[in-house]
């Protein structure tokens, strides 16, 4: 091959540019920690990454939904527990009634049960971040879900449920919905418990041991008693919490798994990139040195 004046510089320049490009790529990868940055760097990998990131973001949202659901469920559980304790206290007070109960005792029990009812209505209308908890999807309604009618003396005579018949749901995973709120039937059980307490209070007012016994039985005895129903509602709230917590653990695992898959495609293998950088650096140095050496020799050095 005939070697002309431009053959060496052209070859050297071509090699230096190629090696410079390789060094730049390795350096960028090492400094960012990413193997790819643009879709054209590795299109199939980028498509997988974008899809996984969407999935990750969505799982993160489901996780946040689950946290909110857990908050609702836990607060609901606390409210129901309080109501259960009120019913339990009412039952306790009724248990002490017999034929020898004095008027003063009836009055004291009447007075305490009346306070339990007031507290019960208050608890039933519990709000979380400005929304009623036991109202179904009427949580933002201007009227309270448990409406207490009072007589002229201000005494609660009956409690009615003014909430919604449906409860809002939320997504906790793709295609999986859950309602962390109580159902309208459960809300009505709360209403019934409050009305049974009213009946007990009125039995105390009537100073009738038999009426007190009937009211107490309605509150605490049998499958249809308010105490059992409240326990059942609390149990469901507990199971919702358990499900949400399990779901969160599952989402955590899926998030980490997605992150690992993204990392496999997107992140640079530092050892491999460092070796690649060293290799191209050495080749670059060799190209410069050999180029300089060849370019340094010329017939001109021997001409006088």
């Amino acid at each position: 091959m005939r070697v002309t004046f431009n053959t060496f510089p052209d070859t050297l320049l071509g090699r230096l540019q190629a090696l410079g490009g390789e060094q730049n790529k390795a350096l960028t990868q090492l400094s960012t920690g990413q193997r790819i940055a643009a879709p054209s760097d590795d299109t199939p990998a980028m498509q997988r990454i974008l899809s996984l990131r969407t999935e990750k973001d969505q799982n993160q949202q489901y996780y946040r939904n689950s946290i909110d659901g857990l908050e609702v469920s836990k607060t609901t559980f606390v409210a129901l527990d309080q109501l259960g304790q009120l019913v339990g206290r009412g039952s306790e007070l009724a248990a002490g009634v017999s034929g020898i109960t004095s008027d003063a005792e009836y009055k004291a029990k009447y007075s305490e049960i009346n306070q339990l009812i007031e507290q019960g209505v208050n608890v039933a209308n519990t709000k979380l971040r400005g929304s009623f908890l036991l109202a179904g999807d009427a949580s933002a309604s201007a009227t309270k879900p448990f409406d207490a009618s009072r007589d002229a003396g201000g005494k609660i005579t009956t409690v009615t449920y003014a909430g919604s018949e449906t409860s809002p749901e939320m997504n906790i995973a793709e295609g999986t919905k859950i309602s962390a709120y109580t159902t309208s039937d459960e809300n009505k059980d709360v209403r019934d418990a409050l009305n049974k307490l009213i009946a007990l209070r009125d039995a105390m007012d009537a100073k009738s041991p038999s009426l007190v016994l009937t009211a107490r039985q309605a509150l605490t005895e049998g499958n249809t008693s308010s105490e059992d129903k409240l326990l059942s509602v609390m149990s469901r709230a507990g199971s919702i919490q358990y499900r949400l917590e399990n779901n969160m653990k599952d989402l955590e695992l899926r998030y980490e798994s997605s992150e690992k898959l993204i990392s496999t495609d997107a992140d640079v293998d530092f050892a491999e990139a460092t070796v690649r950088l060293n290799r191209s650096q050495m080749a670059y140095q060799a190209a410069i040195q050999s180029g300089a050496k060849i370019q340094n020799n010329s017939l001109l050095d021997y001409l006088r």
Binding site: Q34, P39, T54, D137, M170, L299
Partner: protein, 475 residues
């Protein structure tokens, strides 16, 4: 005696030949870095001999002609490689701009490795905005009474609409820039055609009776042909009996015929909404390779495809979200008819925190509408059912990004291969046509020594003549 005198004349001519050799070696060295220059050499020939009474007498040497190391086959190969490289380079530039306009890059610096610490989508592209938008609907479905959540949702919707509109606008800018580049390239190409015709004219004058002698002009013409081959696939052929003039063609269309540019001599770009094409002299010109057609193909192909897909995405968003949200009595996004000119999607101006609705029922805490819209994130659409897109919103946009990315990736790989091929072809030609410093320096020595030898010969003849003319009389 007559022999000595004729020797002087012969030597004088030889000195001229050596001087010419030195001059050309100097010229070659002077042009050693001139890429368009082909090495020249003096063809030295015998002037013949005459039969005298005693013996045959040589007439000496002469510089027969000036030749250059130019090979049409190699020149055409280089032009072909230039056309291919320029086309790929032009396409690469446009696709890189389009990739930048799409804005879907990966930046993992803000990515969290733990779901507890994660803070939403962190990228800057439409893909992340879509995730944010639908996640905001999810949050709204969970907290329909939360004002901050409503505010966030409206902001995310505005960001998504802005991203879509800006991306489309940027891709439109890329197309406008391509149009401008094509116009500018055509001005250059038209100038080159004119120059080629002029050089043809000069060559014809210079080579009248002296074929292939206008070597410098031929260098210039070849340089212009190579310049033009960057823009389009051209070929050239000699015109018979025309004193070295050539015919330049693109496909079957003659662009330059000798000293004239064919037709009205204007390459033009017809750029209407319905029609984008090249013409020459008013007639359609089919260019198959080179920067011009690659730019047009990238503009109308990959870039336009991306715009069409983003437009389809925006339409599907409008239709789907409004399809659910309209049950509340109003639209969430403006209808296509009400969207401002130049925009693909806009949030309805009536939407505000105070009137954003999560339900079509009277229950203020209900979330049926918000939940249905949030569920759209995973809905698979199909154009077979009169939808505007295929697949999910995210999947469809990712496919758009991937399609453009793959296009650029393929172009990059092809360009890398093409550059090697071009380098090899150029090296082959350079090996034949280029100037070698070693060759020229040895030529310099050779002609220098020849000149010295001839001078010495003249000196000897002079001495002999001196003997004859001045000394013989002294006897």
């Amino acid at each position: 005696m007559s022999g000595l005198i004729s020797n002087l004349a012969t030597s004088s001519k030889a000195l001229g030949v050596h001087s010419k050799g030195l001059e050309i070696a100097g010229k070659n060295l002077a042009n050693i870095n001139n890429r368009n220059y082909a090495k020249q050499r003096v063809e030295i020939g015998d002037r013949g001999s005459i039969n005298r009474d005693i013996a045959t007498e040589s007439m000496g040497v002469e510089a027969m002609e000036l030749r250059q190391n130019r090979d049409v086959l190699l020149d055409k190969s280089v032009m072909r490689e230039f056309t291919a490289s320029s086309g790929l380079e032009a396409a690469k530039k446009i696709l890189e701009s389009a990739e930048g306009a799409l804005g879907q890059f990966l930046d993992r610096t803000k990515d969290s490795t733990s779901i507890q610490n994660a803070n939403g989508a962190s990228g800057g592209g439409i893909s992340d905005s879509l995730s944010d938008f639908f996640n905001a609907w999810e949050s709204y479905s969970v907290k329909p009474n939360d004002v901050a959540v409503k505010q966030l949702l409206i902001e995310k919707a505005k960001i998504l609409a802005d991203k879509i509109n800006i991306t489309d606008e940027r891709l439109g800018d890329v197309q406008s820039n391509v149009d401008g580049q094509i116009d500018s390239d055509l001005i250059d190409a038209n100038g080159i055609l004119k120059t080629l015709a002029e050089i043809n004219g000069y060559i014809a004058k210079a080579e009248n009776g002296r074929p292939n002698s206008a070597v410098d002009l031929r260098d210039q013409r070849q340089a212009k042909l190579e310049e033009l081959s960057n823009y389009m696939d051209i070929s050239f052929e000699n015109i018979e009996d025309s004193n070295g003039q050539i015919r330049v063609k693109c496909g079957d269309v003659v662009l330059v015929e000798g000293k004239d540019v064919s037709g009205d001599g204007v390459l033009a770009y017809v750029n209407t909404l319905a029609n984008k094409k090249f013409t020459f002299g008013g007639a359609d010109l089919s260019i198959s390779k080179g920067a011009l057609v690659s730019q047009l193909n990238a503009r109308n192909g990959a870039v336009q495809d991306s715009r069409d897909q983003i437009s389809a995405l925006a339409k599907q968003l409008q239709d789907s979200i409004n399809g659910v949200y309209s049950t509340t009595g109003s639209n969430f996004f403006k209808s296509a008819a009400s969207t401002a000119v130049g925009k693909l999607i806009e949030i309805d101006s009536a939407i505000s925190v105070s009137n954003l609705k999560s339900t079509f029922t009277a229950n203020a805490g209900a979330n049926d509408v918000a939940l249905k819209i949030a569920d759209l994130a995973n809905k698979k659409f199909t154009t077979l059912s009169a939808d505007s897109i295929d697949g999910t919103f995210g999947g469809f946009f990712n496919a758009t990004v991937s399609k453009l990315g793959q296009n650029l990736n393929t172009t990059n790989i092809q360009l890398e291969d093409q550059k090697l091929s071009e380098e090899m072809t150029r090296s082959n030609r350079d090996s034949f046509s280029g100037v070698s410093q070693d060759e020229e320096l040895t030529d310099l020595m050779k002609f220098q020594r020849s000149f010295q030898a001839t001078s010495r010969f003249i000196n000897v003849v002079d001495n002999l003549l001196d003997q004859v003319v001045n000394r013989l009389g002294s006897f």
